[in-house]
Amino acid sequence: MTRTIKVDFLTRVEGEGALIIRFKGKQPSSVELKIYEPPRFFEAFLRGRCAFEAPDITARICGICPIAYQMSACHAIEDALGVRVSPEIRALRRLLYAGEWVGSHALHVFMLHAPDFLGMNDALEVAKIHPEVVKAGLLVKKVGNLLVTALGGREIHPVNIKVGGFYRAPTVAEIGALAPEIEQALLALEGQLDWLAALPFGPFEREYEFVSLRHESEYPFCEGRIVSSGGVDVAIAEYESVFEEYQVPHSTALHSRIRERGAYLCGPLSRFNLNFDRLRPRAEAAARRLGLTPPVKNPYKSILARTVELVQVLDEALELVDRYRPPEPASAPCELCAGSGHGATEAPRGTLYHRFDIDENGAILTAKIVPPTSQNQASIEADLFAMATSLAELPPPEARRSAEHAVRNYDPCISCSTHFLDLRMEQEA
């Protein structure tokens, strides 16, 4: 017997894909998250290009988190060339990165994920019942766009970022003008914490190995060591000695695992669990108001972890704006030379790793890029495997909706690696 539930495409997820759950008797035997977006060969066509082009080329991998790609690429190239940036440039990068997190998280929390918890199809339905929630979401999202535009030159695919820093440093007046907007967004967000805390999350939990960057004193954006709840604690340059990518027959996107151990989870829930003690007081207060204390093992509560991170980065953005001094020069001097460099930063969806090998003329010999959605694919499949029996008991439309909800816990950006979802549940003979 074959049971088939078919959906043309999954909304509110970036990319194209499908999900097949197979059963033997009443027990699930396999789950395949099939990614059929064609591979885009970024790693291949970076070869031979000047290392200084890497940030702008890799930014094109994703329209939602281009800054993550720019930052990871800049850090890796700077590592290879021995470039160190000034504290002022570092601060400006954190402010820029905050803008991307704010835009991405606000969109996902209020427009893409919240409707799932209410059994609604989209943000428009939420707006008709809870207009103040969607208004707050739009206000916060707007601040993300403002930050990226002010620092990056435009809101999507910013053009002001280069290896070593920025082409132009914004003026104090330009940055200062952002403060009232950030404060207003922060207050609007905090006004929705009780509403978010009351969403129905259900009892589902799973044991994950959480992985993220950990900085010696700050909530992680751009630097630190790669750590896990299972004891991993390595420098970014050692990433490939611990993590490996592998091909699965059912997907064009590579999966990733901890060597000799298996699937792991990166993203907001991991960052929150591994860096709770690095939260700013205002973000920690938000977490407590949301009832969120580590370890959080319910993936549906990722919406709350994203909300805490929104408070975190908006609050830090306020401080960075207040202390802003334009870096002079706007970028550190960089000279091309042979070398290898590693960079890992925390994209909104999780750790984004880059490695580049460069020849003596500054041309890229090899490029390795490991996006967060690829790293989380095995974990998505494991979540769905654990839910499969209960999914099979639901009427097809509800099963599809529940599966989509589970996938959206990850805010997967499938076009980075990998639009979803054609769901099939098959009974094996």
Binding site: V13, E14, A123, L124, V134, L138, L139, I156
Partner: protein, 163 residues
Amino acid sequence: MTCHIVGVGEPTAGDDGVGLAVVERLRSLPLPAGLDVCSLRDPSALAGLLTRPGRTLVIDALLDSERVGEVRFLAPAELFGESRARAISSHGVDTLLAIALARALAEREPPEVSVLTIAIGPPTKFCVELSGRVAEAIEPATQAALGWVLGSENPQRLGEPGG
């Protein structure tokens, strides 16, 4: 009455940038007083822009491979009906959803908004050039936008297929 024209698109996704190209063409012309023209890459930001007083014309690409280059205003049913026309989307919030959100969230009168579209085929690669028939649509789209500002264009009439 204040008028706003907002061009929406992604200039590096080929024909998806046509809304921005029309706005650039408008900026090169002597424009009537009280007309505000701006460009937007992220459609979700449109909901905020539509809280401004005055009427707004949004110019965007519309996926319609069979009528590439056609310039037309969307009819109300296409804008606000259950089967909204399919615009280019970024991560789930497209131009028409942003407009619908602005209407749903309006505290007083819903925003007066029209949408002028230029039909394109699906973008398939990164490039900044418009294809021939879409590039040829810039001028008629510009004239349609100016007609809207002056009140001489009737969106309902232009909204009919082939209009």
